[in-house]
């Protein structure tokens, strides 16, 4: 286990570089003691971690680890059964509107309307955020240009490639200018080049726009040394901290090996540590 105490997510904020306009105590995302069951099946057990503003945090776990359940809880698609989640200090259960306004989400399944055009999808999302049409169009033009789809603005979304759809989903998630971006397996099903482009685009958002990112993935090659990691396995947090910290704790030469040793040890014990 790393040196970061999982039961005190606010510690991450103290360890993270201090942003200029957000107090260090205010995490972009705070997940504290979250547990969730589907009937009798437990999907998450006492999950706690935090995401600092202007940081890239990778939520790493195999299929079935509980990543999508966690994203559904953070975005209030599911009600919280135990624990608390807050976005920049706004509790998702008590003040969902305030929390959701600060949140941009790219879900694992495609959530674009395939029969609408690129711009129409953006305008629809903007309306759901309460952004007036004229302003929405301005922002839409801006984000479409940024993702290189200016020539496809009136194309139906079903005519776009998988990579273009994902870029559009990211652009849409940023349209209301959130401060925290959640991406759930955003590169699944894309080719190597499209994956690299999207990952680079998101890292640029962190560096240039100060957006906090929670990147859920099971693809370890998407993790960079500078990233914060949260390792989720069987609904439990096995480790969290920087890549360097986790490698130091496990003594593994790379994250792939470290992950395997952590999860195998947890499975041997019958329950994760």
């Amino acid at each position: 286990m790393t040196t970061i105490d999982t039961s005190r997510p606010e510690q991450i904020a103290r360890d993270a570089p201090e942003p200029t306009s957000v107090p260090a105590v205010t995490l972009a995302l705070s997940v504290a003691g979250i547990s969730h069951c589907y009937g009798r099946r437990r999907a998450l057990s006492d999950v706690s971690f935090g995401v600092a503003p202007a940081s890239f945090t990778a939520l790493v776990g195999l299929n079935g680890a509980g990543k999508s359940t966690l994203i559904a809880l953070i975005t209030r698609l599911f009600g919280i059964q135990a624990g608390r989640i807050s976005v920049f200090g706004h509790d998702i259960s008590d003040t969902p509107g305030d929390a959701l306004r600060l949140l941009g989400v790219v879900f694992q399944p495609r959530t674009l309307d395939l029969d609408l055009s690129v711009m129409q999808n953006l305008l629809y999302h903007a309306a759901l955020q309460g952004i007036a049409r004229r302003e929405a169009r301005l922002r839409g033009d801006e984000v479409i240009a940024r993702i290189g789809l200016a020539d496809r603005v009136n194309s139906r979304v079903r005519d776009l490639s998988g990579g273009q759809m994902r870029r559009l989903e990211i652009a849409r998630a940023l349209l209301h200018r959130p401060r925290l971006l959640l991406l759930d397996e955003a590169t699944v099903g894309l080719d190597v080049q499209a994956r690299a482009d999207i990952l680079a685009h998101v890292r640029t958002l962190v560096a240039e726009r100060g957006i906090g990112v929670l990147w859920a993935t099971h693809l370890f090659d998407e993790i960079a040394e500078s990233d914060d990691l949260v390792v989720l396995h069987g609904g439990h947090v096995l480790a969290q901290g920087s890549v360097t910290q986790i490698l130091g704790e496990t003594g593994a030469p790379n994250f792939d090996t470290a992950f395997r040793s952590m999860t195998e040890a947890a499975d041997r014990r019958g329950r994760p540590s």
């Binding site: 570089p17 201090e18 942003p19 200029t20 957000v22 589907y38 503003p53 202007a54 940081s55 299929n63 079935g64 680890a65 509980g66 999508s68 359940t69 559904a72 975005t75 209030r76 698609l77 599911f78 009600g79 919280i80 059964q81 969902p96 509107g97 305030d98 929390a99 959701l100 306004r101 600060l102 989400v105 879900f107 694992q108 399944p109 495609r110 959530t111 674009l112 309307d113 029969d115 609408l116 129409q120 305008l123 629809y124 999302h125 309306a127 759901l128 955020q129 309460g130 952004i131 007036a132 049409r133 200018r177 401060r179 397996e185 962190v206 560096a207 240039e208 726009r209 100060g210 500078s226």
Partner: protein
């Protein structure tokens, strides 16, 4: 790492944001409707088949006595027109719920549900949008029916509007409530068998209740307690510039109950919380 923050908006959402959201949802439903021309055509063909073929065939078989709101003997086609209008709205309500199940399966629903605006408001907007679409279909049907000698008083075209809005909301909210309980698109066929057909046939849409009572007192009570009967009667009376107060009360009450039920069912802490994410996601 740079920590330059862009300017973010922290103002509370105001009335204007709610109106923008409502407009956006209406606009999207209208676009979808325009893109699905087959839906519009089939929504019209269905009642027209009943009107042109079924009603013409049964005209000689079924006699209609003078019953309110009619003040004289009427043709059978005239009698079933309000029932066919209600049928359009019933199918439209179920179609909306079908599209909600589809949206949920395809993931589009999440875009709606992660909006910062209150979930009850988003669902009411969806209901209103579905109702507006049903109004377009109903007035197109009334226009065609006019050429078939189904011509209520001119004022009726106006006085029926509030009744259509209310009945559209009732049937839409019923569809929404049903959609919250349907786990897969494939299960929707059951809605046809267990909701649409029983509601339509066990009502006053095709035959007046006094005739049903003559045939089967039990069926009569079933029809009497069927909310769809009251949708039909509300529309029938409104088309003739009259109000059926009992039907109005039943339809308004059912609208409230179904809408509240749908809002509870789509509450994250209740309805949706019970389901695991779709395949592959956990």
């Amino acid at each position: 790492m740079s920590t330059t923050f862009v300017t973010h908006e922290h103002r509370k959402l105001g009335f204007g944001n709610y109106v923008t959201c409502l407009n956006g949802i209406l606009w999207r439903e209208a676009l979808r409707f325009l893109h699905q021309r087959e839906r519009f055509v089939s929504a019209l063909v269905r009642p027209l088949v009943w009107l042109f073929i079924f009603a013409a065939g049964f005209r000689q078989v079924l006699g209609i006595s003078i019953i309110p709101p009619y003040e004289t003997y009427i043709l059978y086609e005239v009698y079933i027109a309000p029932g066919l209008i209600a049928m359009i709205q019933l199918f439209n309500g179920m179609q909306s719920s079908l599209s909600m199940v589809y949206d949920r399966e395809m993931g589009n629903m999440r875009t709606l549900l992660v909006s910062p605006l209150p979930r009850w408001f988003l669902l009411v907007c969806k209901l209103l949008a579905g109702t507006v679409v049903s109004l377009l279909q109903v007035y197109a049907f009334l226009l065609i029916a006019w050429f078939w000698d189904i011509a209520p008083p001119l004022i009726g075209y106006l006085t029926v509007l509030p009744a259509l809005v209310l009945s559209g909301l009732m049937l839409g909210s019923l569809g929404m409530l049903i959609s919250s309980r349907i786990k897969q698109l494939e299960n929707f066929a059951g809605v046809m068998n267990f909701v649409i057909f029983p509601m339509f046939f066990a009502s006053s849409a095709l035959y007046p209740l006094w005739r049903v009572q003559e045939g089967s007192p039990m069926l009569y009570y079933l029809c009497l307690f069927n909310p769809f009967t009251h949708v039909v009667e509300l529309i029938r009376f409104a088309l003739y510039d009259k109000v059926n107060w009992v039907s109005l009360a039943v339809v308004a009450g059912c609208t409230a109950v179904f809408t509240i039920g749908a809002i509870i069912a789509y509450d994250p802490g209740r309805g949706l919380a019970r389901r695991a994410p779709a395949g592959g996601e956990t």
